[in-house]
């Protein structure tokens, strides 16, 4: 039995790096510090690993190359659980085969691309831990997605300028219903779908113009507004975290713009202000940052003979599938057949699908070629982007099963063969 410390968790995009694990016979038997999401990923290794559809991985790769090179417009999709290098290779493949590169942020995590596109200043979690005295959670319930965010990075830790941790910090939680996050916040605002923009305007009025009024629509009395303003006035470092719940609004884009302008006005008023999107899966952030740094767009990028086309309503994976405009698909570490609407998912059945992933899913079942991979961060290493945009190195601690290659090698072999 051996004990390893400072292991990075791969359960979500927070990449907590203080885990201690005990390994026996190539199996994790005990973990200190991981939340239930992390425990599930590190300890309960998938029993139903996907089986290679061909004789061996090399044959499967050859078949994948065949499908991709004969396709007119393939869809390259997934990458939420991939390393940065895999994403880079995925982009190169898409560019080489004149395909469409898309990842999950285009469907369910729109807050990531939008916050990136608006070029909001991103500060590191470590800086927020040490200095931030006013924290705003916008449309995110930590108890569902980012379990350790409050205890590891934001609310509870004692920092250089916030000596008493939670007692020195003010937390404002904004959401659609009674979030568990509201249990740890001093100020809570519940908003109905459709009223978000109005709330942002009212908050701007309160914080910037110091106009105190009763907000009946948001169940906020004049006293509560006054209290919120007082807390805001006495703070210097305001960190906002935005989650994906906002997507229920059809006007999500406008609401983002409103929020971004609020954050910028707070910054202009002399306070430090930052907005960090809370991505959900391990490298959702990388899947948005890498294409953005390379091509200026975070998702839904269509390549055609060296040109780039970006128009999410036409070039996203969903739109392309809906219009029958893609004739093959390379799915990397994702399960679109399960989480896309049935009418769109069923289109995947009509085209040859190459699935590269760890476990058996519905997508792997309908795929023509299935290639098993190692588990990123557990059986193979690499670099990922934490949700605040910091690059984190993952070190593997378990031996992968024999004949299973890691994602980076599989993708680079495919790229070489094209």
């Amino acid at each position: 039995m051996k004990q390893l410390s400072n292991i990075t968790c791969t359960g979500c995009s927070l990449a907590c790096n203080d885990l201690v694990i005990e390994i026996e016979k190539n199996k994790v038997v005990k973990i200190w510090g991981s939340c239930s999401h992390g425990t599930k990923r590190l300890k309960e290794l998938p029993e139903n690993r996907v089986k290679c559809s061909e004789k061996d991985t090399d044959n499967a790769i050859e078949k994948a190359i065949e499908i991709l090179s004969s396709a007119r417009k393939p869809l390259i999709y997934g990458f939420n659980l991939s390393t940065n290098k895999s994403i880079e290779i995925g982009l190169e493949i898409a560019s080489k085969v004149n395909g469409v590169f898309d990842s999950e942020p285009s469907i369910c995590q729109l807050h990531i691309p939008i916050a990136k596109e608006f070029k909001i200043k991103n500060l590191r979690f470590e800086e927020i831990l040490e200095k931030s005295d006013f924290i705003i959670y916008l449309f995110v319930n930590l108890a569902d997605t980012h379990l350790r965010h409050a205890s590891k990075y934001a609310v509870f830790p004692r920092g250089e300028y916030v000596k008493s941790g939670r007692e020195s910090r003010i937390v404002l939680s904004i959401g659609y219903r009674d979030y568990e996050t509201m249990k740890i916040s001093q100020h809570n605002i519940k908003v109905n779908i459709g009223n978000e923009l109005e709330l942002v305007e009212k908050l701007k009025n309160l914080f910037i113009n110091e106009k105190v009024e009763e907000l009946k629509k948001f169940n906020l009395s004049a006293e509560a507004s006054m209290l919120l303003l007082n807390d805001y006035r006495s703070s210097t470092f305001i960190s906002s975290f935005i989650g994906s719940h906002i997507l229920v609004n059809i006007m999500a884009n406008q609401v983002y713009r409103g929020i971004v302008s609020l954050i910028k006005e707070i910054e202009n008023s002399g306070k430090i202000s930052t907005l960090i999107p809370l991505a959900e899966e391990l490298n959702s952030m990388g899947a948005a940052i890498i294409p953005y740094n390379k091509y200026g767009f975070t998702h839904a990028i269509e390549f055609s003979d060296g040109n780039i086309n970006y128009n999410p309503s036409i070039t996203s994976g969903i739109a392309k599938l809906m219009r029958d405009e893609v004739d093959a698909a390379l799915i990397v570490g994702s399960d679109p057949f399960t989480h896309l609407p049935l009418s769109i998912a069923s289109k995947l059945k009509k085209i040859p699908v190459i699935y590269i992933g760890v476990r058996e899913t519905l997508t792997s079942k309908i795929s023509r070629v299935a290639i098993p991979t190692t588990i990123t961060g557990v059986e193979s290493g690499g670099k990922i982007y934490r949700t605040d945009g910091v690059e984190v190195e993952l070190t593997p601690f378990l031996e992968p099963p024999s004949e299973v290659m890691n994602e980076e090698d599989i993708l680079s072999k495919i790229l070489r063969g094209l």
């Binding site: 510090g33 205890s151 568990e180």
Partner: protein, 159 residues
């Protein structure tokens, strides 16, 4: 904040169900007995009339029902449901006793030494040294920070 500041079982609730005769067979007045009962310094069986006289049978049943969670809880009068725990670690980092034992905890790092009050193991809360909790008798403090910050209602302060 400040939710659940009132104890869930209060002495008055217990007192109302006791015989209220101040017979002092147990050594205390009925009010004092109710307070001691809540602190788990005496047992319900110490009140003899409650068990011997038939007219108190209904009250006895109600009392047993009321005090059931109290006697199921630990010495700190905290009941922890590990099944409900999601491992967020809010309680671990917020706990003042934990931070004073292991200063690393104050920086948001989950403790791995055996000295702390509790820690997170395998995604669930694990109590290691209950006697270091601020609520441990006899010098009990009315600290309930762990219950206040718990996302999943896994920690419940009984009284």
């Amino acid at each position: 904040m400040g939710r659940g500041a009132m104890p869930k079982i209060n002495p008055m609730q217990i007192f109302k169900l006791l015989p209220r005769t101040n017979c002092k067979i147990c050594g205390y007045t009925c009010m004092a007995f109710a307070v001691k009962l809540l602190q788990r310094e005496v047992k319900l069986e110490d009140c003899k009339p409650l068990f011997t006289e038939k007219k108190y049978a209904e009250n006895l049943r109600k009392l047993q029902e009321l005090l059931k969670p109290l006697f199921e809880a630990a010495e700190t009068l905290i009941k922890i449901d590990e099944e409900k725990c999601i491992g967020c670690g809010n309680c671990i980092i917020a706990c003042p006793a934990n931070v004073s034992i292991d200063p690393q905890v104050g920086k948001g790092i989950n403790p791995i030494n055996d000295e702390v009050v509790f820690t997170i193991v395998d995604g669930r809360i694990k109590v290691l040294n209950i006697e270091k909790c601020r609520r441990y008798p006899p010098h009990r403090m009315n600290c309930r920070i762990c219950e206040e910050v718990c996302f999943s209602k896994a920690i419940e302060v009984i009284a």
